[in-house]
């Protein structure tokens, strides 16, 4: 047999490469922290405007021991995770079928396209007063706000994924005698999956980001609550800590979803 599959790299180089880029990223983060410490240490910026890493660490310790606004830190984190996850999952669960259907059926696509397109550029914050009026100040309005943002991204990507399924693949499926339903579920859906998952990743990120806006709706606890409340009283270290926690958790979420994506889409090989 002449033709062979792609040859793997030599083992040595392969092993070193695996750790090279994560190491660079780690070094980058450490570098940023050092720069931060340097800037505050040299007094280049007022410490009220930019607290030093040390101050932030001390305040973080304080918050971990004493909580914020009569609630332990973990309770704040828990509420935020609950809201963001709920909104995210609901959004994605509805967006995938709607997105796929939009592309699959042109009539449905024509019906919903202008509605989605209209709402897309409007930032979630703008809807807060309406949300309060229609859904009150409880968890519903907050989760709905996050749901809307999450839905938006995944529906777009799912529709695009569906549209980009190669014609040949669909013809191959038809050729094999598949019914329309089988074609949709066994050919189009898996083929659109990479695009769908890209949308899901973006939805996860945006759900977490919109959280702070959602928690403006009379949240009694949460990371967004901490940031807004601390900001009102010019407690900059607390604002920093809130932002840091949000960032770290966001990073974690992205990492998890990427790992999940890699497992699910292993068949793409090195993309």
């Amino acid at each position: 047999m002449i033709d062979k599959p792609q040859t793997p790299r030599r083992r040595q180089r392969f092993a070193a490469d695996r750790w090279r880029y994560p190491l660079i990223s780690f070094a980058s983060v450490v570098g940023m922290i050092c720069l931060w410490a340097l800037v505050t240490g040299l007094g280049l910026v007022s410490s009220r405007v930019l607290p030093s890493p040390g101050e932030v660490l001390v305040q973080a310790g304080y918050l971990i021991r004493n909580g914020y606004a009569d609630n332990p830190l973990i309770v704040h984190i828990g509420w935020s995770l609950f809201r963001a996850t709920s909104g995210f999952l609901l959004g994605v669960a509805l967006a995938i079928p709607v997105g796929l259907l939009m592309s699959y059926n042109r009539t449905i696509g024509a019906i919903v396209q202008p509605i989605f397109g209209f709402f897309r550029p409007i930032p979630p914050i703008a809807f807060i007063p309406l949300m309060i009026v229609w859904f009150g100040i409880g968890e519903t309005s907050k989760i709905l706000l996050i749901f809307a943002a999450s839905f938006n991204y995944t529906v777009l990507n799912s529709a695009a994924g569906m549209r980009s399924v190669p014609e040949q693949l669909i013809r191959a499926g038809t050729n094999l005698g598949l019914t329309r339903w089988q074609l949709f579920t066994s050919v189009m859906f898996p083929a659109a999956l990479p695009a769908i998952l890209t949308g899901v990743k973006m939805s996860a990120a945006v759900s977490w980001a919109v959280l702070v806006a959602a928690e403006l709706i009379a949240a009694q606890a949460g990371l967004g609550f901490i940031i807004t409340d601390a900001g009102t009283f010019f407690r900059i270290p607390d604002v920093f800590i809130g932002i840091l926690i949000i960032g770290v958790i966001g990073l974690g979420i992205e990492f998890l979803i990427s790992a999940f994506e890699r497992r699910l889409l292993h068949w793409q090989g090195k993309v």
């Binding site: 009220r48 009150g136 009102t232 407690r235």
Partner: protein
């Protein structure tokens, strides 16, 4: 002044008016005599009942006092803290709570004046069908309030006066717009809030006014004029000319009535005139001529009634964990500037 007008004005306004009347016209000339080159100044302005500031702005009284003012709009006091700290603002007009919060976070600034004395315009409104008619009825009820605000303090101070502690009520933390929605949906039984939200809760939802901060003995609900200590020490002229402008505004209101002030604030807050009119009656313009007078409710003198009230409020904020460390308020108020201005006034 005719009788009808006397009846409409509050007592304090009348007394102040009588005090100012003989000074009237001549003061204007005296105060502005030494201007020379107008000094530039950046003044923070917020949508609140800063009567004197708005009148001074609209009638160019700061210019008359020898300033070249630039006005910067802020929506919250917290923003003006950051602006002063970054030296992009000279004179801020935050509420007393953001002032103290800034102080607690190490912002080195002091109060040189007050405006918007809201103790009569901030209080508790109960839902019509909640069965609450007096303070004691709030026990066990759910109350919407903005955390750490002067209304928060006013509410808890009022309840404390009746032996009701924080754990005897359920507080739901939210801002005034959310409170309206929550009242409408019956998620809460009462709110602790400031004007014009009190009027809105009453007019739009048929709420019942239980009482204002002043009714419960709380007089710290004010706006202040705050400047960084460094700036104030280097720019005495600017501060004094600023306060002169406010004095001119006060005299203007005494002479011409509060209509101009009401119109200006109505536009700034985007609230109908008749609501602001009520607000003026509840929270009239402070008597700037008495700011150096130790006997005055809103005097800036160290150890005065106002100073004590603010100290109490600050202790409360520390106890609530809203302010992380105990602040030293002993030098927070600097009465020297207004004292100087008033002295020059008297010389006329």
């Amino acid at each position: 002044m005719d009788r009808a007008r006397v009846k409409r004005l509050s007592r304090r306004s009348v007394l102040a008016g009588l005090a100012a009347a003989p000074i009237g016209l001549s003061a204007t000339r005296g105060l502005t005599a030494e201007t020379g080159q107008p000094l530039p100044v950046r003044i923070g302005i917020q949508p609140q009942a800063s009567w004197l500031l708005y009148v001074a702005r609209d009638f160019k009284l700061f210019e008359k006092a020898g300033l070249q003012p630039t006005y910067i709009r802020f929506t919250t006091g917290a923003q003006s803290i950051a602006a002063v700290e970054s030296k992009s603002l000279d004179i801020a007009s935050p509420g007393i709570t953001p002032y103290v919060a800034g102080l607690a976070q190490g912002v080195d600034w002091k109060v040189v004046g007050i405006d918007a004395t809201m103790s009569g315009a901030e209080g508790i409104v109960a839902r019509a069908d909640s069965g609450i008619t007096k303070l004691e009825d709030l026990k066990g009820k759910t109350i919407g309030v903005a955390r750490g605000s002067t209304a928060y303090y006013g509410l808890l101070a009022a309840l404390k006066g009746k032996g009701i502690s924080k754990s005897d009520v359920k507080l739901l933390l939210m801002g005034p717009p959310e409170q309206l929605g929550a009242m409408r949906n019956k998620d809460i039984d009462a709110v602790a809030v400031w004007e014009p939200w009190i009027q809105r809760n009453i007019n739009e939802l048929g709420g019942r006014l239980i009482g204002m901060d002043a009714d419960f003995g709380v007089y710290s609900t004010t706006g202040v004029y705050a400047v960084s200590r460094e700036y104030a020490d280097k720019n005495r002229d600017v501060i004094e000319r600023f306060l002169t402008g406010l004095v001119l505004a006060y005299q203007y209101i005494q002479k011409n009535g509060p209509d101009a002030a009401i119109s200006a604030v109505s536009e700034a807050m985007n609230v109908p005139r008749d609501v602001i009119k009520i607000m003026y009656q509840e929270a009239p313009v402070p008597n700037i001529l008495r700011w150096a007078d130790t006997g005055y409710q809103y005097s800036l003198t160290k150890g005065g009634a106002y100073h004590k009230q603010v100290e109490q409020m600050t202790e409360f904020l520390v106890a609530e964990g809203i302010i992380s460390k105990n602040v030293d308020l002993s030098n927070a108020f600097d009465v020297s500037y207004i004292a100087n201005v008033l002295r020059k006034l008297e010389k006329q």
